[in-house]
Structure formats: C-alpha cells, structure tokens
Symmetry: D3
C-alpha cells in the first residue's frame, strides 16, 4: 500500500520528523505562501492521502519561510483562472462560479475530513485563505508575531471557503467574530488567545513549530483507534444536537470498543509500560 512518502509534491514540503508524525509545510515562501489554484488542488491531494495512510497519526501544518504562514489568495493567479466577469449571461456565469467555489471549499475542508488530527501552526502574515485553512484544523497554535485578518471584505466579497462557516463555532464570542469579519481588521496573538481562536502562543516561529510537533508526537503515542474516534465524534458533535451525537457515538463505539488498543492500554496502565498499538 502506498504511503505519503511515495509521492512528490510541488508546493508542499512533507516530512516525518518523528514516527507517525507528519509535518506539512506550505512551500512558496517567495510568494508569502499564497494559494494559487494548483496549490489548493495539491493541498487536497496531500490531506486525502494522509487521511488513510497507516504511517500517519498526527499532522502539523505550517508555512515555510520567516514572513508568512500564508498571505492568502494568489491574486495574480486568480485573475487568470476565474472566467470573465461581467460578460454573458449572469445565470450561466453563476453556475460556473458555484462549481468553482464548491471545489475550492472541498479542498479547504480536506484538513477537517482528514481522519488524523491536524495541528495548525501560524506565524507572520496569516490572512484570507490562511484563516480559512486554519479553521479546518483541529488545534491552532501561533507565534507571537502572527498578524491575522479575515480579509475578504477588503476585496469586495464575503468569505466563501470556510471562515464564515466555521469561525462562529470555533470561538465563544459572536460579537468578536462579527467585528473581525465585518471590518477585516488585523488582530494579533494575544487577542487570538484570549478569544480562544488559538490555544497556545509561543515567542518565535521555531518555538511554535516545536510545540506543534511535540503535541503531535504526544497524540501519536496514544491509541489511534481512540484518537481518530475522538476527532470524528467531536466534529460530528459540532454539527448535531446532543441526542444525535450520543446515538451516533453508540454505534461508532459498538465496533471500536472491540479494539485491541483497549486491552493494550489497560495492560500498560497496570504494568506502567508504554503500550504499542497496531497501525490504523
């Protein structure tokens, strides 16, 4: 069975610094890691592979270079990709736009749909698509120098690849969410931590990356059956009433409680030895 290592990537640097941990870096530092269409199409391919790769248990997503996690849409590329505005039948143009948006959304959602936890580590410029991508991750960590903005209203549109769908469910204060989405204003690490958008702030990019990798390594040491089930059930919980989630959970665990990991974890608890888990 092919693993993520059997592929080569154009716009991403994909490495495995420790067993079962994969580090995905957006690798266009000269473009401030902006996203052209080929970039987001490859992003989807990367996360689809990681999702079912048994050598992967946790993923860290970050941006190469000192200046930016990502400066958002590659506007130069976008202007050549999106078919001619203002010409022809608006309803046909709308159909083309809708299909394009749906594909772009699906690419961004691939990090959320990835069965393994994804930790997003941000630094420097982190605007536009950067916010959308990070909302698809499970845990957000940032460096002190991060400059965030839900930038879309500044280019005349409502964000349509996930930020408006997910942000209200990721942080507690709707008043804050509406403020930053309606104004496109910058906000910084401390504010992001205070509202709960990120759960850790580190002094430098390196420190943030290391914290992300440590967290990923810690998660990778746990039972993959337990970890992947936890991600799936938490994502389901976000979108369903409590009763619905309880019912879904009971069916999910009716199979998953038959895992050998349960026995391994219990035994290791008694023997104080680190358990070993089969791949998943």
């Amino acid at each position: 069975m092919a693993t993520f290592k059997d592929y080569t990537y154009t716009h991403f640097l994909v490495t495995s610094p420790t067993p079962f941990v994969v580090h995905v870096q957006i690798n266009r530092p000269q473009k401030l890691n902006a996203f052209s269409e080929p970039v987001w199409r490859e992003f989807e391919a990367v996360f689809n592979r990681l999702s079912s790769d048994p050598d992967v248990r946790a993923v860290v997503l970050s941006g190469a270079g000192d200046r930016a996690f990502s400066a958002g849409l590659d506007v130069q590329d976008a202007s050549t990709r999106i078919p001619g505005m203002g010409q022809g039948d608006p309803s046909r143009h709308a159909t083309v736009m809708r299909r394009y948006i749906l594909e772009f959304q699906r690419a961004v959602s691939s990090a959320e749909k990835c069965e393994k936890p994804v930790i997003c580590v941000m630094h420097g410029i982190s605007i536009g698509i950067a916010i959308n991508l990070s909302c698809s991750a499970d845990v957000r960590i940032c460096a002190r120098d991060t400059r965030f903005a839900v930038k879309e209203v500044d280019i005349g549109l409502a964000a349509d690849i996930g930020a408006l769908s997910r942000l209200p469910k990721l942080v507690g204060s709707t008043s804050w969410v509406k403020d930053v989405c309606l104004t496109a204003r910058d906000f910084f690490a401390d504010e992001a931590l205070a509202v709960g958008f990120v759960s850790q702030v580190h002094e430098t990019k390196d420190a943030a990356i290391n914290a992300g990798l440590r967290l990923a390594g810690f998660i990778a040491s746990k039972s993959p059956v337990a970890v992947q089930g936890t991600k799936e059930l938490l994502n389901h919980a976000r979108d369903h009433p409590v009763e619905e989630n309880l019912r879904y959970t009971s069916v999910w665990n009716s199979a998953m409680l038959q895992s050998s990991d349960f026995k391994a974890a219990l035994t290791s608890g008694l023997t104080k030895k680190k358990p070993t888990f089969e791949k998943l």
Copy 2:
C-alpha cells in the same frame, strides 16, 4: 424610493451622523427607555425600513439619556395590554398569549433580520428587554457603568423574546449563561467582556457611542455587497451545520461575486485610493 428619513418616529431618534451610518436612539429617557407595546412595534418598523434602505450601510442602536440603555418592559403598559389572566378557558387564553409572544419576538428579531450590521451600544441600566434586543444585534459595546441582568425569572417567567434563544450562541461558557439566566443576578462591564458578551468596554457612555459610530463608519466604508453577505452568512452559520452553510454560501456568492465591488476593491488595492461602491 422612500428612505428612513421620510418617516417620523415617536419613540426613537433616528439620525445619520455620517454618510451611510444611522444612529437609532431609544428615546424615552424619562421612562428609562422602557418598552411599551407601541415602542416595540415602532422598533420593528424602524429596522424593517433600514434593512432595505440604500442610504444605510451600518446602524448604531443606543438609549437616550444618562441612566439607562433600557430598563426593560414597561410594566405599567404591559398590565393593561395583556388580556385578563386566570379568567376563562386556559386553552383560549394560551392561544392569545402565543400570538402575542410571536409578534413580540418578531419585533425583537427585526434587528437581526436587518440586512445591515447593527452595533448595540449599552450603558447604565440594561436589563430584561435590553438584553433581548442586544442579542439581536451583531456587535455589542458597553460603557463602564452598564448594569446588565437577564431579569425575567424575577418577574416569574422564562425570558421568551430571544435572550434564552440567542445568549447560549453568543458567548462561550454555558455555565455562565445558566448562572445569569437562572438567578437574574446583575453583572457588569468587565464580566460581560470576559465572557465575550460585549467586545469593547469604554469609560463613559459618550466614549462608547463614539466607538460604536466609528466602527459603523468603518464598516460603511467597505463594499456593501461584501458586508451584507458576511452578516447573512454568519447568521446562517449559527443555525446550520458547516456543510449546509458551505452549500448555501456557494449559491450566495455565485451571484455576489459578479459584483462591481470586487473589481472596485481590487483596483483600489492597486491604486491605493479609497474605492467607491454603488448603493445597496
């Protein structure tokens, strides 16, 4: 086409301090801005007009006078409006009550349904209906002296015009929401900021109003297509699973991305000039 300026109001002071910004003041300071039935019926009329008025891009809602944003229900008025309790057939009485509640709810919801962002600036006494109204706004700001309370249990009823429906989705801590709703206790500016109910606290009412007007002015300078779409999509997101919202968003933007604002905003980005947007 008529604009909000073509109407006169009995209980509200409606002005436009800067272009595209409207300031709505509850104008019964001698009654601490309490709401009688005519007041909430006029409230609905005001916001319905602002919703589609092309001269409006952002709204600030506040209370006239020094003492109160609003002291809630005008109990004197209420006692004369609500048909005789404890008499006649309880099922018929229930029907009358239900219709009345539905109309009252619709009035309070008109700020949420208003297509333009609404910034609620509170000060002094802000209890009962005040909380319900402010939960219908998009952004909440308050003065240091604000005294909040979800007051309804103190008059023997569960709040039924929106506070219980919206508050759990506006702030992060359910433990806090239940505490303040079950006890009707007072809380103040710092606590409101810490839990995310408001996103700004200012030292005086004047400072808070100014901040609200500044924020409204800033929003009014952005593309109205982008701003109104952002409000709509965020409100939709609150009530729908992520997948549902993404689908709705793709249809919404299939028309909205054909906006001239997109071009204007991109151009202004290059030329560093302030863009001008058509009315909406």
Copy 3:
C-alpha cells in the same frame, strides 16, 4: 406522593440542607467515588426522582471525601460487567455493546433531563466519568485543587457517555476542547475558569460546596415555573436554530405565563416582600 426522602440510597448521600435544596453526594470515598455499574444505575434513579419531586427546586452534586469528586470508571467492576471481548461474532458483540452504551448514556443524561437546575461542585481528582457527569449539569463550580482530565483516550477509547457530545457546546474554544480530548492531559482550576468550563473557583472544597449551596438556595427562592422553564428553554436552544427555539418558547410560555407566580412576583416587587410560590 412519594418524595426523594422516601428512598434509601446505597452509593449516594442525599440530604436537604435548606428548604427546596437537595445535596447529592457520590458516597464511595474509599474508591475515590469511582463509578461501577450499580453506581450509575442508582445515579439515574436519584435524578429521575428529583426531577418531578415538588420538594426540590435546585440540586447540588458533589463527591464525598477529600481526595476526589470522582476518579471515573471503576475499572475492576467494568472488567467483570462487559461481556468477553474478542470472542464470537463481532456484529453480535457490537449489538450488546451498543445497548450497554445507550443505557450508560441515559444514566449520565439524567442530570441534564432533571427538570430542576443541577450545580456540580468538583474537587480533587475529577477525571473520566467525572467530566461526563459534570457536562450534564447546568452550572459547574470547582475547588482550587481540582485536577481534571478527559481521560478516555488513555484507556484506548473515544469517550462515549457525553463528554465529546457536550463539551464543544459548553466552552467557547474548539482548539482547547480538541487539545484536552485528544491528549487526555490534566488541566486545573484556573484553566477551567479561563475557558469557561467552570464559572467559579474557590480556595477549598468546603468553600466550593458552600458556594454551590448558596447558589442553589438563591435559585430555589425564585419562581419554580420561571426557573424550570428557563432550564428547559436553554437546553432546547443549545440543540436548535434560533427560529425553532423561538417557536417552541412561544408555545411553552402560552401555558406558563398563566402562572400564579407571575402575579406573585409582580406583587412582591411592589410590596418589597419575598414572594411565596406554589410547589412544582
């Protein structure tokens, strides 16, 4: 009509320190208040009775002894209860597991379904089932020494009796929720307060219990029609869109506004005397 006092309990200490307030203590301090199957079955019986007992208006739930609110599942008991893993037909085994999980979930949910508010006061070890139980309560308070952990991944499974269903809706930061659920790491009182999981921290267990009882007493002094309606409508709001909750609320209050408590509360407001409310 029988009240909660007409029953005797094996694993719980159930007292009424002040009128209309009931204090339920998990009473297995020698086992760190761990939950065997008989314990959670009795837990359900206790809360079902309190739910409709007219002598009860608010409940405090805590754990007996100094060391733990609860150390979670009684693993020794569990190993004898759950039918033989890894033997026989996995689909039939799954059916047995699913039925078991559903019953266990129902027991934990009984605190949420209890019509009277439940205040959970935690101290010391509060892991595994402790988290699940506390998420079913309305308000969470803790002592400074509390050690929390969503412990399930450490025993090889995804939590399935409520923590993953409810926690994302109880606190604002999803990044934090995923962190603690995916790692099973400990967290402490200050962190629990900062993210909004608890709404009060007290220096000692005794202080926390006293605060819980005071809060319960305060709630018990209010109209039971108003209080129980508020709990029901807030729980409904969590799981429904705003429009749905408004509609449900209008029907609920069509009966509840005919309460004598409304009149009693209004009168007491005028006379400045403490109102008396009929039992419910």
Copy 4:
C-alpha cells in the same frame, strides 16, 4: 375586534355561506384569475385576517368563473414590476430579486400559516401560481375538467414560490413529482387523484365547490381547539423528526388539554347532543 367582514377586497370575493365557514374566491375571471402583484399582496392580507378571526373556523379557496381556478402569473403585470433585467450590477440585481421572491413566497405561504384549515377547490386551468397556492392549502379537491401544470420551466425558470418546496412532501411518488416538474406537462383530475395530490374529484365545478363547503362545514362543527391544534401539529410534523414533533406536541397539549372543548365534547358524546364550542 374587527372581523374579515369589516374589510373590502379588490381582487377577492370573501363570503360566509354558513356559520364559521368562509369562502374566498379569486375574483378576476376576465383575466383567468391570473395573479398580478396587487393580487398576491391582497391574498396575504386576506389570509392573515382569517387566521385570527374568531368568526372563522374553516376556509374554502376557489376561483371565480367557469374557465380557470387560476392561469398563474399575470405576465403583463410582471414585466412592468420586475426591475430591468440584464442591466447594471448582477449582484445588486440579485439582491432586489431575492427580496422580491421572499415577499412573494410569504404571500403564498399565508394560506399554510393561516391557523384555520384551508380547502382548495380547483377547476379548469390551474397552472403555475395555481399549483403553488394549492400546495399551501390543507386539503385539495378538484373538478373533472381541471388542467394542472407545474408550468415554470416553460418560462425559463425553476418554480420559486413553493411548488418545489411542498409538492415532494404532499404526494408519495418522487418519480411522478420530478416528471411533472421537469417537463411542465399537463396532468388531469384522475392522475392527480391517483398520486394523492387531490383527495376528491367531482364531476363539475359546482359539485366540487359544494363538496368543499360541506367539508369545511363539517370541520367547523368540531372543537376549534382540536382542529387548529391538529393543523399546527401536522404542519410541524412535515418538517421535523418524529421525536421533535412528539416533544412539541406534549408542550402544545399541556395547555390545550385544559380546554373547555374537551369537557363539552365528552359530555355531548354521552348526551348525544351537538356540542357548542367557544370562539377561537
């Protein structure tokens, strides 16, 4: 309190042939009862008044003249009302269109939202808006000569005022629904009966009207508390899972079972006399 008789109508003939029964006739026979904007705006006003008029317990809706229940949209009127196609910014045009559709939908939905049962009696040409209106009614009856068509695709659009929303939930066969909606083909009384779109076919328009009035009279002789509750709960059932509807029903009937009608109906069962019910 004003009743429906206190108003005069331009486009409708509103009469009360028997006590508590109201007959609403679309009264533009010379235009084949086509709907211009003023017609649907008045339609909404009529049904909103009937909804809470205590002199009304059941409504029959039909079309005046021999040739048509309704020939649908008044295209001549429509071409003057809808703002200039193909000009200006498509996103702004979309906003105007969306607001217009929402108002039109609300008008058509007013028959469904009317608290009293509405029986739609069709004859002759019944196409376009005719289908949309009839889907908002509770019971559909037709004359042998009725010619139905979900006509919208023939004028280049997907039906947007209710037919596509409601038809799939009114008849059993989706294969049939898609056939008639995608082709805009005619269908006739027998087919409409066989698929369950109508529940009665009569040989002439007069016979159909009489059957409708008889049915309305029969319903009007029942307890209005029971009848209006039944309409509300069935409409709620269409749009909710069974568990949700049961919960809503339990709250609804907690007030409605306190009705004097219950006692009157039981007594009349014993005494074999026709019960009298209070107005509602």
Copy 5:
C-alpha cells in the same frame, strides 16, 4: 437471561406460535381492547422485553375478540387518572399534563423502538389509540371489516401520542392525511390500502392474522443481523436527510458486515440449503 416467557401479563396474551415469532394480543375483548393507563404501561413493558430477547425475531400485534383491534382510550379510566381540570394554577396543571403525555408517548413508541420488526394486524373497530399504536408498527395489515378513525378531534383534542407525528410520513397523500385527521371521519380497508396506510387487506380477521404470522415467520427465517439493521436504518432514514443516513449506515455496517450471517447466507446461496443464524 430472562426471556419474554418468564413474565406473566395482565392485559396481553403473548405467545410464540412458531420459533422466533411472537404474537402479542391486546386482551380486553370485553372492553373492545380499550386502553386504560395500566394497559399502556404494560404495553411498554412487553415491547421493551421483546426488543432485546434473543428468542424473538419478529412480532405480530393484534387485538383479541371479534369486534375490535382497539376502541381507543378507556374513557372511564382516563377520567379518574387525569388530575382535576380547570382547578388551580394552569401552569402547574400544564406541567403535570406534559409529563403525563410524555410517558404515554414513550409507551406507544416502544413498538417502534423495539429492535425486532412489528407487524400490526387490525380488524373491526380500530380508532383513536388503535391508529396511534399501528403507526408505531413497521407493517400494517387489516381485515376487510376494519373501521378506522383518527378520532381525537371528536373528543376535543389534537392527537398527541403519535398519530399526527407519524401518519404524514407513513402515507403519500397529505391531502388525505389532513382530511381524516381534521374530520375524524371513518375510513375502511380499501381506502386504507389505496393510500398505502396498510399494505395488505384480507377477507377475515383470521386470514389477516395468518398472513401476519406468515410474514413474521418469513422475516424470522432471515439473518437477524440484516433484519434488525434494516429496521434501524429505515427508521433513521425517515427522520434524517439522505447524506446523514448514509453516514450513519456506513458506521452501522462497519461492525455489522463482520457478521457470521453474511458468510452463512452466502454459503447457503451456493449450497441451496437453508442457513442457520445465531441468536441476536
């Protein structure tokens, strides 16, 4: 483990005419099988036991005696059970009523929640509760002489134990459903078959019972894993969007496809021998 045979029943005759088939007869023929409170409480107990009894694979529900499947509520009993109408506080009375309705609903729903398919065979008088019960079954069969009526509006109330919740989802024509629910009129076997309420009509009660038992026996010869999964997934489908049901199904079958029945069924297909399945 106890089976349904280890219990004795007061109001029901519970037999097993063929292996794995259970026949439950409402056994109050002298009362036309009317339901008093003790009857519906025992009904729930019966179906809860059958649900997890491994000796049961299919259930037939019918009424003893020649005259009636069930004449509905035992009105005499009801008048003594339901606490005094029209006295005391309507809100407190509403609370008592709501709790009572919820328990009654749960009893009626127990046939739906029973994990084994339930075939309801009706004859003679089948009104009120009879309709509600039969809507909880999976398949409905009737004798030629059956007289059906959704009778509740005739006693002054909207049906609240399931008929209005389930009937609109069991038959295709909403026009028909509203007709019979709003008028309480009788309908008979042919009409019930034509609208799809029942799927078989037989000439006599005996023939109908035999057909029901034959169908139950046929179902009982199939894989219980497949049969019980099919019931669960169809019930889930009724209340969920297609995408939701597909997701739930994929989790359900991830365990159930590991069944030995799959292998047994495939093998028996090749060998043309009747497969034997383990109990479930």
Copy 6:
C-alpha cells in the same frame, strides 16, 4: 473543454442518440450487468463528467442485453476485494469497511448529484445494486418483465449504498417499503407503479427505452437553467423543511432569474417559435 465523448469506457456504452441527450448503458450483459468494484468506480466517473458537460441536458440510464438491468453486486469480485473477514482487530477491520462503504455510496450518489436529470429505465432482473442505483435517478420507468428485489437481507446484510436511505422518500407507503426491505421478496411492474416507485410501465424493454429517450428529449428541449435548477431545488426540498427550502430557493433564483432563457422562453411564447437556449 473536454466532453463525455472524449473518453472511452470499459463497462458502459455512452452514446448521444439525439442532441443534448445521453444514453448510458451498463454494458456487461454476459454478467447480467452485475457490478464489480471497477464498474461502480467507472459509473462515478461517467456521471461526474456528464454533470458539467455543456453538451448534456438529460441522461437515460439502462442495462444492455435482454435479461437484466442489473443483477446487483458481482459477488465473485466482491469476495476478492473485501479484506479478510473475521481476522485481526474488529475495530481496524471496521475502519477499512467504513471507508469502503463511503466510497461505494459516493459512486452510487453520483447520479443524484449529476446536475442534469437522470431517467432510469429498468427491465428484467433489477435487484440489489439495481435498486440502489435507480433510487439515485430522478425518474424511474420500467418494462413489464422487470423483477425487482431489495435483495440485501438475503445475503445477510442491511442495504448500505442508498436503498434504505432513499426508498422511504421516493414512495408513499412506509408499510410497503418495510415489507419489501425486510423480506427481500420480489415485486413486479404493476406493484412498482401502484406504489409510485416507477412512474411508467411499458410492454417491452424497447418500448421503455424509447419512452425514456423521448422524455429525456422533451426535457432537453427546455431551458437548461430552469431544468437544472428544478432538479437541484427538488433534491434540496427532500432533505429540508419547507422554510429552509424557500430561503435556499430565493438565493438560487436571485442569480438564475437573470438568465437569458427567461427572456427567450417568454418571447417564444409570444412568437410560437421554439426557443433556443445557450449551453450550460
């Protein structure tokens, strides 16, 4: 831009008998058109391409050869594809199964997600997957000789690729749906027509195919904007409450009403000439 003609297919015969109409034939007659994994993977590829191909406006799906539309799963293939049952960790096996089911479901759903209407014409053996596929189509037509069966329980499993999810929403009688799904019994053309599963029966396969192609041609002559919108809105309606669908519809048509087809269709109505529509 590539069209469906630029591809070659292994298991399907894809032709265009008339402009804008595509005929897709399952082309394994020697295997009774059974589905191996490569077949359903290619099925998905075919429909994904048709979905956005501007040369396609309506699709007919049928099976090559005289004997079968499709005999369902290619059991021989399946036994080699699905990883070893009963070995290893049941939870890991469940994960593999779940991923496999999800991919299989997605393939079957591709006909439903295809933006162009799909007419399924069945004949001969039409069991198992055949039912699942046909439920994904918009309109179902069959030949007199068709033998249908929801066959899955006969091979020891609950259908998991769509039949149980969609069938209850495609036909009116739940009693019938449960009967055929729980028993796996055969049913034939007349029964399929009576319950509404198919909407046309023809005497021979050829007659059925011709009817399907005629219907497709008729649909292809209509405005593609109107037709594709109608399919989308009807599919949305199935899974959403009426209010939700109305809201979605208003946004959809805000763009689609700007279509040139609207003008073309209106003009052609006046001039009695056949309108020409741009590709979509």
